[in-house]
C-alpha cells in the first residue's frame, strides 16, 4: 500500500480509538403511539407494521436511525407486541449484521409518559438519546442537530431537549391539519418559550406568559412547522417524566410542563428548525395519504420504493414515478398512470386504469377497473368493473364486481364486499371486533352486516369506542363536516358521558359569564377550552389513581395527589367523583382480568381506599345526588368491562356495607332515568337489582336497627 494511504489509516485508527471511549448514541422508538387513529386497521395489526408504499412503517424509522449513526435502539411495543417481535426477528435489524443493537421491550404502558418512566426505572439510557415514534419517515441529517444540542449542553446543563422541526410554509399537505402546533421560539438561543396546539375552527389566540415577553427581546411565533416527533433528549428528560407522574405525551404533557415550571427548574427546551431534508410522522390517515404521495414523488429520497429497503424487494423506477416490481402481469390494454407503485406478482386485467395508487403484492385486479388514488395492500382482489377512489383496502380484502368504493372508505383485513355494492366514503368496514378489556391484542370475528357489504359479503361497520376520544380520523382532507359527524356519533354512543360533558360545558360557560360580562363575547372559545381541560383532567386523574392503586400506594398519598391535581386544573368535585369512580372500576376490572374473582377484586380495592370515596361523596347531608352520580359513573364505566355486572354487584354491596352510599342513594340511582337509558346499562345493573331491593326494603322496614343485610 502506498505510504500516503498508510498514514491515513493510522490517523483513522487513532481517531477510532478516541471515539470508542465515548458513549454510543442511543435511540428510543415508540412503536405504539397509544392512539387509535388507524382503526380499524390497528385492531389486527400494530401501526408500525402498516405498509407505507408497500414497506412497513417501522422500516422507515429504523432506516432513519441507522442513517443518523445510532448504535443502540430500544423499541417500545404496546399493542400487538408479538407481531412486532415476530416481524423484527425476521428482519435485517436483528441479524448480526445490523447497524445497531435492537432491544424490544414489552410494556403495558398506556402512554409515552408511562414508557418514559419505565425507561427511567430500567436505567437503560446512559447518555443523550434520540426519541422517535415508530412511524417517522425522515431523511434529514441529524449531525447538525446533534452537534447543536451538544454544544448547548456543554454551555448549559439545563438544556434538556432539542426538538427537530421541519419548515413547511403556509399550506402543506404533510402538515398536521387538525391540531396545529404553534411554537414560540427565541431565535437567538433557539429556545422554545411557549407551545400551544390550535384546533381548526377556533380563533387563533395564544396565551403567552408575561415573563416570556419580558425576558426575550425577540420571539418568533411559528405555525409553519411539521412536528415530526424527533427529539434529542438528555437523561434528565426521563427524570422529569418520573417526577411528574401525570405527564402522558411529549408535547402537551412534557413540553407544556417543562415550560410552565421554567421559573422553578430553569430547564429549557430548544428547537432545531431545518429547511432541508424530509421529516414527517404518519400520525393519522390524512398524513398517511400525504406521506405516501411524498414517498412516491421522491421527496423522501433516498427512502423511495426503488431503494428496496426490504431485502426481498426489487422495485424499479420507471418513467413518471411509476415503480414496478418483478413478475407483474399487465394486460396489454391496461394503463398505469403516473405516481403508481405495483408490487410483485400483481396482475391487472384489460382496460383497467390505475393512477396515483399504491398496489401491494399478489393483488388481482380485474378488467375495466378504475383505481384512482387508492391504497391497496397485499393480496387484495378487485373484481371486474369496480371503481375505486381514494380509499384504503387492506390485505386479503376482496371487492366484488361492479362495486363502487367512494373516496374515504376504509376496508380492513379480509373484508369481502359483495358484487355491486356501493361503499360510502365514511365507512370503516372490518371483520374484527375488539374483545373489551380482556386483552388488547385479542380480536374476534364480528357479525357481518349485509347492509354494508352486500349479500354474501363479510364485514361490518366498525364501532367507535367512547373512551377513544381522539378525533376519529378520516382519509380525506378538509372534510371537516365528515369529521364532525363522526365525532358526534362517537358521543352519541354513550349518552351519559356526552351529557356530562355538555353539562360541564354549560356550567363553566355560565360561571364565566357571570363572573365577568366581558367574557361572554368569547364564551364559545372559552368553553371549548374548558371542555378540553375537563377531559384532560379526567384522564390525568384517572390514570394517576390507577397507577397508584397498582403500586399499592398509601391512600392518603393518592388523595393528596388527587387534591393537588384538582387544584392545579381547577376541576370541579363532580369531575373528581367521575375520576375516582372510573379509576376504581378500572383497577377492579384489571384485577378481574388477571384472574381474580370479582368479589375478591372489589374487596381488595374498595375498602382500603374508601377514603377516596368519602372525600368526594358526602353522606352526612340529606342530599343524595352525589351518591347517585358516583353510582352512575361506576355503572357507565362498567358497561364494557368484562364481568361488569358482577363487579357492579359486589362494588355496590361493599359501598352499602361501608355506608359509603346510603340506601336512599341506591334508590334514587335505581330510579334515575339515566341509569336505565339503554339496554346495555340495564343489562349491567340487572344483577344488582336484588341487592337494591334488599337495601331499599331494609330501609323501609326499620330505621334504628343496624342493617345486617349482606
Amino acid at each position: 500500500m502506498a505510504p500516503k494511504a498508510k498514514k491515513g489509516a493510522n490517523a483513522q485508527k487513532s481517531k477510532g480509538a478516541e471515539e470508542e471511549r465515548e458513549e454510543p448514541l442511543q435511540a428510543v422508538v415508540f412503536a405504539d403511539s397509544f392512539e387509535t387513529r388507524f382503526a380499524p386497521f390497528t385492531l389486527e395489526r400494530p401501526r408500525c407494521l402498516l405498509p407505507l408504499a408497500n414497506t412497513p412503517l417501522v422500516e422507515y424509522t429504523l432506516e432513519f436511525l441507522a442513517n443518523a449513526g445510532v448504535e443502540e435502539v430500544i423499541l417500545y411495543c404496546g399493542n400487538h407486541t408479538d407481531q412486532v417481535e415476530e416481524y423484527l426477528k425476521h428482519s435485517k435489524w436483528t441479524r448480526d449484521t445490523a447497524p445497531f443493537s435492537l432491544e424490544i421491550i414489552r410494556s403495558d404502558a398506556r402512554s409515552v409518559g408511562d414508557a418514559m418512566r419505565d425507561l427511567d426505572q430500567k436505567q437503560l439510557i446512559t447518555g443523550d438519546f434520540i426519541c422517535v415514534y415508530g412511524d417517522v419517515v425522515a431523511n434529514i441529517q441529524m449531525e447538525a442537530a446533534l452537534a447543536a444540542h451538544r454544544t448547548r449542553r456543554e454551555k448549559n446543563k439545563k438544556a434538556i431537549m432539542t426538538m427537530v422541526l421541519r419548515e413547511a410554509g403556509d399550506f402543506h399537505r404533510t402538515k398536521s391539519q387538525n391540531i396545529r402546533p404553534v411554537f414560540v421560539v427565541d431565535p437567538a438561543t433557539e429556545r422554545c418559550v411557549h407551545y400551544e396546539q390550535m384546533r381548526p375552527r377556533e380563533t387563533p389566540r395564544l396565551d403567552i406568559a408575561e415573563e416570556v415577553l419580558k425576558e426575550h427581546v425577540e420571539v418568533e411565533v411559528r405555525e409553519d412547522l411539521i412536528d415530526c416527533g424527533i427529539d434529542i433528549c438528555t437523561p434528565e428528560v426521563l427524570a422529569q417524566y418520573t417526577d411528574n407522574f401525570d405527564w402522558q405525551v411529549p408535547r402537551r404533557g412534557f413540553l407544556y410542563g417543562v415550560l410552565k415550571d421554567y421559573e422553578t427548574n430553569q430547564l429549557t427546551v430548544h428547537t432545531h428548525i431545518t429547511s432541508e431534508g424530509y421529516a414527517a410522522r404518519v400520525k393519522n390517515l390524512l398524513s398517511y395519504d400525504a406521506i405516501s404521495k411524498d414517498v412516491v414523488s421522491r421527496w423522501t429520497y433516498p427512502l423511495c420504493p426503488d431503494v428496496n429497503m426490504l431485502s426481498d424487494q426489487l422495485y424499479q423506477l420507471q418513467k413518471g414515478n411509476v415503480y414496478q416490481e418483478d413478475g407483474i402481469v399487465l394486460a396489454r390494454s391496461s394503463v398505469i398512470n403516473r405516481k403508481s407503485v405495483l408490487g410483485k406478482a400483481t396482475s391487472v386485467g384489460s382496460e383497467s386504469v390505475i393512477s396515483n395508487s399504491i398496489i401491494g403484492r399478489r393483488c388481482v385486479i380485474g378488467k375495466r377497473v378504475k383505481i384512482d388514488g387508492a391504497y391497496i395492500w397485499d393480496d387484495a382482489r378487485i373484481g371486474d368493473d369496480a371503481n375505486i377512489k381514494k380509499a384504503i383496502i387492506a390485505n386479503e380484502a376482496s371487492v366484488g364486481k361492479k362495486c363502487h368504493i367512494q373516496a374515504g372508505a376504509l376496508i380492513s383485513y379480509g373484508v369481502s364486499i359483495a358484487e355491486g355494492t356501493t361503499v360510502t366514503g365514511s365507512s370503516r368496514i372490518t371483520r374484527a371486533k375488539r374483545q373489551r378489556r380482556q386483552s388488547k391484542d385479542q380480536t374476534a370475528e364480528g357479525p357481518t352486516n349485509p347492509k354494508i357489504v352486500g349479500e354474501g359479503g363479510a364485514g361490518y361497520e366498525m364501532e367507535v369506542d367512547e373512551d377513544e376520544d381522539d378525533l376519529v380520523e378520516t382519509l380525506l382532507s378538509g372534510d371537516i363536516y365528515n369529521m364532525r359527524k363522526l365525532s358526534l356519533s362517537a358521543d352519541s354512543i354513550s349518552t351519559l358521558d356526552s351529557e356530562d360533558e355538555d353539562e360541564d360545558l354549560e356550567d363553566s360557560s355560565k360561571r364565566r359569564s357571570s363572573r365577568s360580562e366581558s367574557f361572554a363575547s368569547i364564551g364559545s372559545d372559552e368553553s371549548g377550552d374548558t371542555r378540553r381541560k375537563a377531559t384532560d383532567f379526567h384522564h390525568e386523574a384517572a390514570a394517576s389513581i390507577v397507577d397508584a392503586l397498582q403500586k399499592n400506594d398509601d391512600v392518603n398519598n393518592i388523595q393528596l395527589e388527587l387534591q393537588a391535581l384538582k387544584l392545579a386544573s381547577n376541576a370541579e368535585d363532580k369531575q373528581v367523583r367521575r375520576a375516582v369512580a372510573v379509576a376504581l372500576m378500572k383497577r377492579i376490572a384489571g384485577l378481574v382480568e388477571s384472574g381474580m374473582a370479582p368479589k375478591d377484586a372489589v374487596a381488595k380495592t374498595v375498602p382500603p381506599n374508601q377514603l377516596l370515596i368519602t372525600r368526594c361523596v358526602t353522606t352526612d347531608k340529606e342530599e343524595y345526588s352525589e351518591q347517585v352520580e358516583f353510582l352512575l359513573y361506576m355503572q357507565t364505566d362498567l358497561l364494557h368491562r368484562q364481568q361488569g355486572d358482577k363487579i357492579l354487584l359486589f362494588a355496590c354491596n361493599t359501598l352499602a356495607h361501608k355506608d359509603l352510599v346510603e340506601a336512599e342513594g341506591f334508590e334514587q340511582w335505581w330510579e334515575d332515568p339515566r341509569s336505565s337509558a339503554t339496554d346495555e346499562l340495564q343489562a349491567v345493573r340487572k344483577d344488582t337489582k336484588q341487592l337494591v331491593d334488599v337495601l331499599v326494603g331494609d330501609d323501609d322496614d326499620d330505621e334504628d336497627e343496624d342493617d345486617d343485610s349482606e
Binding site: 505510504p3 447497524p99 443523550d128 449531525e143 451538544r150
Partner: protein
Amino acid sequence: MPAPVVGQTPSLTTFLKSLKHSPIETSIELLISLLRRRQISHSRPCALATAHLLLRVVAAERLKPTTDSTVAALRLIERIRDVGRRLVAAQPREMAVGNIVRRVLGVVREVVEEQGDGGEESSGGGSEPMSPLAPAVPQDLRPRPRTPGDATPPNFDGPSDIAVNSRRPALASSTSYAGQGPQSTSLLSFLEHPLGRSPTATPSTPGTPSRKSTQDKQEKLDIKAEVIDGIKELLDELEVVDTQIAESALEHIHSGETILTHGSSQTVQKFLTTAARKRKFTVVHAEGWPNDHEATHATIVNGGGGTGIEDEKWKPLTSMGVTVILIPDTAIFALMSRINKVLISPHIVLANGSLLAAAGTSTIALAAQAHSVPVVVLAGVYKLSPVYPFDTQELIEYGDPSKVVGFEEGEFVEGVDVGNPVLDFVETETVGLFVTNLGGCARGYLYRVVADHYRGEDVDLSAAAAPNGKTVA
C-alpha cells in the same frame, strides 16, 4: 454528566474505518445499506469501498492449505461473484461497483491461469487439475496474440514484468489501441517508468523467475496472497488514477485556449491544475445546478479535496493564474461558440462509449456538437463498464426533488411533479476523445480497453456460475 454522544453519519470514511474491526458479513451488509441509502455515491467512493471490501472478503476466505489451488480459485470466484451480485443489486446504477467486482474476478482468473502456465512448464501432472479452467480463456478466442500468461492487463503488470523480455510484444500489442500520435508515446513512457506507479507496488506477480526454482513451493502457491496483491494493485491504481490522467494534460490544453467544464470533478481539476503549471488559458465553468452547484462554487473559490480519505488538497485554479468564469447552466449554448474544448468527467463510460454523467452534461455535449467543439472525456479505467446500455431510462437515477423546489412550498409539492435526475445519458456520437489513465483513446477503440480489463464470463454478474468454469461464449 454523560460523555458527549457521537452521532456520525455513516459515509465512506466510517465504512473504511469499521471495515478493520467488524466481521466480514457485517461489513458487506453495511456497504449494501450505505449504497442503498446513497451514503456512498459517485464512482470513486463506490469503487474504493468495493475494492476495500473485496480485499477483506478474499482475506477472510478460509482456504484449506491442502485444497487444490483450482478448487480454491473456483471457491474464491464463487464467493466474490456472490458478494458482487449483492452489492450491485443494492444500487445497480452505481456501475463502478460492478466494474471493480469484475476486475477482481479477473485478477483471480489471471492468477489461476498464470499458475496453470507455470505448472505446464514444470510438471505435466500439475497441469491436469487446471484443465477445467484453462478453456476459460482459450487462446483462439482471445483476439490478441498472447499466451494465457499474458492475460494481465497492462495496468496490472508490475515492474518485474517489464523486465521480462519475452512479454514485450504482448505489451506492445495490448497498448496498440492507444496508438494515436503522442498518446502512445506517453503511455509507453509511463509504463517504462516504474515511478509512474505506486512505489510500493512490488507485487510477487506470478511468473517471476524465482518461482520456477522451487517446484514444491509453486505447487502450493498461495492463491489468496496472489489475489490480495492483485486487489492492492487495483487500490493503488484507484489512488493514482487522476494523477495519471493529468499527465496527458499538456497534450490537450494549449496556451490561450478557452476550456469549458462542468461540476466539481476532482479528475478535471487535477487535469487543469497540471496544465496550468505550464500554460495560460481560460476556464469557463458551468455550475451544475441543482445537485452540484455548491460543490462547484467551493471548488472554484477554495480549491478542493481533503474531504475523502485519499483525496489530496489542491489549490484553486485562480491562484495559479488561470481565469475562471462561472456561468449558469443556461448560458452554455450561448458561450459555446467561444469555447475551444470541453472537458467532461463522467460517472461511468459504457461499453459503446456513451456516458452517464452529472445532469447537464448532455446539454453541454449537444451544444458542443452543434458548434463542432471537441468533447474530451476524462475517465479512469475503473469507470469503464463492459455493460451496454439497452434501456437508458433505467440507468438514470432520480434524486431529491427538494433541491429543485423546496419542500416547504406546499402548493408546489401538492400540484406539481418535480423530477430531479442526477445523471444524464450522453450519446457516444457527441464524444471526441477519451483520456484514460492509460492514455488517450478514440471512441471506436474503446472495445479494446474493455476486452483488456474484463473477462467475457464476468460481464453478466447475475448469471449463475457455470459448472467447472466452462463458460466461454
